[in-house]
């Protein structure tokens, strides 16, 4: 039996529900933890980020207006498809992070469980974070959480799948749309997650995954007037200060990065959901 020719991989971006090449035409080599060549990934430019924001803004109206129940179902479906791809994810995590097969598989399981956990939160957020306010008058006062809008996410640089899921899923569960910049050195799980999102029921543009350098694209996203919030999880230390400063120009919600990348296996609670929700309070007269 003759040897097969290797199928060489040059991955693309996941943007607006499609898989375009970077507008810049750039790619970069991805190596595993031992320094061996694995694949070529698209090297996203600021214009890809701009296009992604347009796609995310376009998808926001429908995604944010979907019922919490429906959003939960769609996100659960993502976990189902991830489960089917678990072996592929495990291989990529093992190669990228230099983990043993068993530990990589454990990280994948934790990531899928994390996604299911966030899928379950969609229809509970209003009950936990909203309230019927005590008022002194013949009316009701309600406070309800609403999604912030388009959220830029700089994904963790080290934890390529569990960290990625831990920052992306809460943004989507809250009803926001996301523009995510993956880990630069370990982008493969993000690329595969893009393929998962494309084949589940997530509408195009709700999640846009860019592979490339957060230090290059981050400043453009932080300054972008049509981005409502930014998660700095994957911004290296001196950069995060700078990004926070530029984000102030358009009064973005900023979720700061911890000084060291945290242990993503810990229970996140509501710490990543609450920052991307706005509270709307309404008065409503009591009927007769």
């Amino acid at each position: 039996m003759s040897d097969r020719l290797a199928v060489r991989k040059t991955y693309k971006l996941y943007l607006g529900g499609a898989f375009p090449r970077s507008e810049s035409g750039r790619t970069y080599e991805v190596h595993d933890a031992k320094g061996h060549f694995v694949a070529n990934a698209a090297w996203a430019s600021r214009k890809d980020a701009r296009d992604a924001v347009v796609a995310a803004r376009g998808a926001f109206a429908k995604w944010s207006a979907a019922t919490a129940y429906n959003r939960g179902q769609v996100l659960y479906r993502v976990a189902e498809v991830m489960e089917g791809r678990a072996a592929q994810f495990a291989e990529e995590v093992a190669a990228g992070e230099g983990l043993s097969t068993g530990r990589a598989r454990a990280a994948v399981d934790a990531a899928i469980d994390r996604w299911v956990w966030y899928a379950g939160w969609t229809d509970k957020l209003a009950a936990v974070l909203g309230s019927t306010n005590p008022v002194a008058g013949p009316y009701f006062g309600f406070s309800v959480p609403e999604p912030t809008g388009v959220v830029a996410v700089l994904a963790p640089q080290r934890s390529s799948l569990l960290g990625l899921v831990s920052v992306l899923a809460p943004v989507l569960a809250a009803g926001n749309t996301a523009v995510l910049v993956s880990s630069k050195e370990r982008p493969l799980p993000a690329i595969t997650l893009g393929e998962v999102l494309a084949t589940s029921d997530v509408p195009g543009g709700v999640a846009n995954l860019l592979t490339g350098d957060a230090a290059e694209i981050g400043p453009w996203l932080a300054e972008h007037a049509d981005v409502d919030a930014i998660d700095l999880a994957g911004a290296p230390a001196p950069l995060s200060m700078e990004l926070e400063r530029s984000a102030a120009g358009t009064v973005k919600r900023v979720l700061r990065a911890a000084p060291e990348e945290p242990d993503w296996t810990a229970d996140p609670g509501l710490s990543r959901l609450r920052p991307f929700l706005e509270t709307k309070s309404v008065w409503h007269p009591i009927g007769v």
Partner: protein, 331 residues
């Protein structure tokens, strides 16, 4: 792929400096003669036209050239609202936007004109008096053009009486497609007369003409009949303005000026939504008709959503960061 008719050949070696005798005076003596003339125009190489616009569309326009292109494009916009739901209030808010497209930046140029239905031309005129911005009104049973000539002419007179500086008329596509070219010609001549001092833009509705050959014929027909502008579309039919159609029309105005000495403007309308589209059109104008047409007097964009995209790009160049739709007015 040049189609310039040699003016010397047509005028018997006459000089270009003096007023030219009309070399086409007798082509409209009968429908048959007119048909023979129009069908005698060189055919359009459709694949060539497509390839040409694709190639020109790859031109990279950056930094200062882009800033110039954006400001020029803004000054060429005919800010348009042609909806059944138009109200005087909407026209007044559009007029305010026409005067100061970007209220946060006084250096932003005003648009060329506001384009409305004839009955609202009075409201627009009132709101734009003294600003130098023209009021364009669509007339002649826009957008279908399906009405008798008396009705169409009354429509035009009414719009002019309401203060319109420019009239956008539609041709009778039914007559054009059945080969009654002289009827179409005479109708344009009659409308031109009814316009009085107002400029006449002739809408060819290229989406219904099907072929580029028909676009070239319709362009020549409209120019011979005295149109001051030829305009692609009403915006109500898809496809509206496309680059190959615009190329053919720009070639027609270029050749017409070379043959008669009279310059006619071009207005693509409908479907031009992004700054990139607008810049591609400007490149096409410069490379086809020439820099003489790169002015709001000779080239216009019929658009509504285009202006906001131009403003967003302009803000990006000014501030250095990307802007968003929250930072321009909602029309």
């Amino acid at each position: 792929m040049t189609h310039v008719l040699d003016p010397g050949a047509l005028t018997g070696g006459g000089s270009l400096t003096g007023p030219l005798p009309d070399p086409f005076a007798d082509v409209t003596r009968s429908n048959d003669a007119f048909r023979a003339f129009l069908h005698g125009l060189p055919g359009v190489d459709q694949v060539g036209a497509q390839a040409r616009v694709t190639q020109l569309g790859t031109r990279s326009i950056k930094s200062t050239a882009k800033a110039w292109a954006i400001d020029t494009a803004i000054s060429m916009v005919d800010l348009t609202t042609l909806e059944g739901a138009d109200t005087p209030g909407k026209v007044r808010s559009l007029a305010a936007k026409a005067r100061r497209p970007d209220p946060t930046d006084p250096s932003c140029p005003a648009v060329a004109a506001v384009c409305v239905y004839g009955d609202l031309a009075g409201v627009a005129t009132e709101a734009l008096t003294g600003t130098g911005i023209n009021v364009a009104a669509v007339a002649t049973a826009f957008p279908s053009g399906r009405a008798s000539r008396e009705v169409k002419l009354a429509d035009v007179r009414d719009a002019v009486a309401n203060g319109a500086d420019e009239i956008d008329m539609v041709i009778d596509r039914g007559a054009f497609l059945t080969g009654r070219y002289l009827d179409v010609f005479e109708e344009i001549v009659a409308v031109k007369e009814a316009c009085g001092p107002a400029h006449l833009k002739v809408i060819l509705e290229t989406g219904e003409l099907v072929t580029l050959d028909a676009v070239r014929r319709a362009s020549w027909l409209a120019m011979l009949a005295g149109g001051d502008f030829i305009k692609t579309s009403t915006g109500k039919v898809s496809p509206a303005a496309t680059l190959p159609v615009c190329l053919v029309m720009l070639e027609a105005v270029r050749d017409f000026r070379a043959a008669t000495g009279r310059q006619v403007g071009v207005k693509p309308a409908g479907g031009i939504k992004t700054t990139k589209d607008a810049v591609k059109h400007l490149v096409l104008v410069n490379e086809t008709a020439g820099a003489d047409w790169l002015s709001p007097d000779w080239f216009r964009f019929g658009a509504s959503s285009l202006l906001n995209d131009l403003l967003l790009q302009r803000q990006k160049l000014r501030t250095g960061h990307y802007s968003g739709p929250d930072h321009v007015s909602v029309d």
